[in-house]
């Protein structure tokens, strides 16, 4: 860095040194990469820290109703994770909402992604921009606007309005993820199948679908996680239905048992297992 100021002007550049033959690199060049890696490591640590705390506090033996201060190691919450019925019910509602909304958004999002990647059509640019809009709208506005629609239509908010709301923001995520994953594929395989006499439907089922499947699975997993996690939009459109995040929000005002941490840890472990399995599956498929 100290050499920056003394460098000759751009008009007379020095002969570039041959790569890998710098005789005595400045100390910064040797330390620089380590500093950068250390910095990145620290950021990863910040990302990971609350998760560590969540896991740690699932083993806490809290005094009183809240689980904010470490009091001592206990396996109690893990031995009885389903102790609080409303918590279990909320978790089941969350899983059901996520399952239904993910199916809806995976189908709709994949279809539109295929349309955008495979075809050139009038309005495709506008469609691309339109798909990004839900991502650039604050959740509080989307939640509020859906609520005004349901009020207008006189629909009682509950399970299905949560599903509708979740599928709405998931579609964009699915479409963008699938689009990114299938861009640059060798679509000539499709033409080969067609030239060999396969019907469009057969071509789709035997060629196109297997090609895009890993992208669809990745998008669906992301979509499921987003639904499980959503709080703001759900808060507006839930009526009397209570999802896991809503339960946590209510509990934060009254009592926070360590079972909440056990549930959060279990969700994370389940996601890791699913991701691991899908990785193994992808590797096995690409090898075979």
């Amino acid at each position: 860095m100290t050499t920056l100021g003394t460098r000759p002007p751009e008009t007379t550049p020095p002969a570039p040194p041959p790569t890998g033959a710098a005789p005595s690199p400045s100390p910064l060049r040797r330390v620089g990469p380590w500093l950068l890696n250390g910095y990145a490591g620290a950021v990863v640590f910040i990302l990971f820290l609350p998760i560590l705390v969540i896991i740690l506090f699932s083993f806490n033996d809290p005094v009183g109703k809240f689980n904010f201060v470490w009091k001592g190691f206990s396996l109690e919450a893990w031995q009885d994770p389903f102790k609080y019925e409303p918590l279990v019910d909320a978790m089941i509602v969350s899983l059901e909402v996520a399952a239904v909304s993910t199916v809806i958004s995976a189908v709709l999002g994949t279809l539109i992604a295929v349309a955008l990647v495979r075809y050139r059509f009038t309005g495709s640019g506008a469609t691309n921009t339109f798909l990004v809009l839900p991502l650039t709208t604050p959740e509080v506005v989307m939640g509020a606007s859906l609520l005004t629609l349901f009020l207008d239509l006189n629909w009682a908010t509950g399970f299905w309005t949560i599903v509708i709301a979740h599928a709405m923001f998931q579609i964009s995520f699915v479409a963008l993820t699938v689009k990114a994953r299938v861009r640059g594929f060798d679509w000539s395989l499709e033409d080969a199948a067609m030239d060999l006499g396969a019907t469009p439907l057969r071509t789709f089922l035997r060629v196109t679908f297997p090609l895009i499947l890993p992208g669809v699975v990745a998008a669906a997993m992301l979509s499921f996680a987003l639904s499980m996690d959503d709080f703001i939009i759900t808060l507006f459109n839930s009526g009397n239905e209570v999802t896991y995040p809503l339960f946590v929000n209510n509990a934060a005002k009254t009592a926070l048992p360590p079972q909440i941490n056990v549930m959060a840890t279990l969700i994370m472990l389940a996601s890791l297992v699913v991701i691991g399995l899908s990785q193994i599956y992808t590797r096995w498929r690409t090898r075979g």
Partner: protein, 291 residues
């Protein structure tokens, strides 16, 4: 049968529309129309009671002027907090994305996994975990005390810094991932050529890598700033009443007070301000590409 140059088969003209229609119809009904009903609500007056609301569209523009005059402080606080959080997320996220893209080697997937891991742990529970970490009796406060790091009123929790930090943390993955994607696309031979051309690595970075990663920076900053500006969870859990953001107000007006017209006007103002900000920002950065 067809041209190969575009790489796109055109079996039928109607196919893309048929494939795209269901999603577009869904978003039309549950994303666009709600914005219209929200607009209608923001210009209405409740002539019924709180429990039996009866909305009449009477073009009540005062809802908007009231929104500005009553909640100006919350608006400016939201944009300030979101702005600082976005800058912090960029400062933290860019180097991480860079290391993952160019230096991680076989640890690349592991690091990417760690970046998206928070997505699989409920947002609210993570924010509650920060409440534990930043609490007055927590180790961070003790460490800061030991190092004589100045803290407002000697604490972290319930300060604006805790809220800003919470926002930074929550949306950090949304900053890292788009930047990583744009860095990943850069061809390594280009980076090597730049390193040969400019002897200082920093100059090579500034001349070649940074400009090519700007689309990622653009997407990342938007995906951080927009949700942060509308957020109320961090203010609610990590801040105090003095840190209420505009999301807090909208949520209260809609769900607790049930003053729908006022809340709708606030939502629209928030959206309009963000939209204007995004357009100006896009112009400044010289890119209109979002994806």
């Amino acid at each position: 049968m067809r041209g190969t140059a575009t790489g796109g088969a055109k079996r039928s003209r109607s196919a893309p529309y048929l494939l795209g229609l269901p999603a577009l119809a869904y978003l039309g009904i549950f994303f666009v129309i709600p914005l219209v009903t929200l607009l209608k609500m923001s210009l209405s007056t409740n002539v019924g009671s709180v429990y039996e609301p009866t909305m009449v569209l009477d073009w009540h523009w005062a809802n908007y002027s009231d929104a500005f005059s009553s909640y100006g402080a919350q608006f400016s606080r939201s944009f300030l907090y979101a702005g600082i959080a976005t800058v912090l997320a960029l400062l933290l996220g860019y180097p991480l994305a860079y290391v993952i893209a160019f230096r991680a080697g076989r640890y690349k997937n592991l690091l990417l996994g760690l970046v998206i891991l928070p997505f699989f742990v409920t947002f609210l529970v993570r924010t509650l975990a920060w409440k534990t970490i930043l609490s007055d009796t927590g180790w961070v406060v003790s460490l800061f005390d030991l190092l004589h790091v100045p803290m407002p009123d000697g604490r972290l929790l319930s300060t604006s810094w805790a809220v800003v930090f919470g926002l930074t943390y929550n949306f950090l993955p949304f900053m890292v991932l788009p930047i990583y994607v744009s860095l990943e696309k850069i061809e390594l031979s280009l980076v090597d050529a730049a390193k040969d051309l400019y002897s200082a690595p920093w100059r090579a970075f500034r001349a070649v890598v940074l400009p090519l990663s700007l689309p990622g920076v653009f997407a990342g900053t938007l995906l951080t700033f927009i949700p942060a500006a509308g957020d109320f969870i961090n203010a609610q859990y990590l801040g105090s009443a003095q840190n209420a953001m505009i999301g807090t107000v909208i949520q209260k007006q809609f769900i607790v007070v049930k003053d729908y017209p006022a809340a709708a006007a606030l939502s629209f103002v928030l959206m309009a301000m963000i939209l204007v900000g995004v357009l100006v920002y896009a112009r400044v950065l010289g890119t209109e590409e979002l994806t």
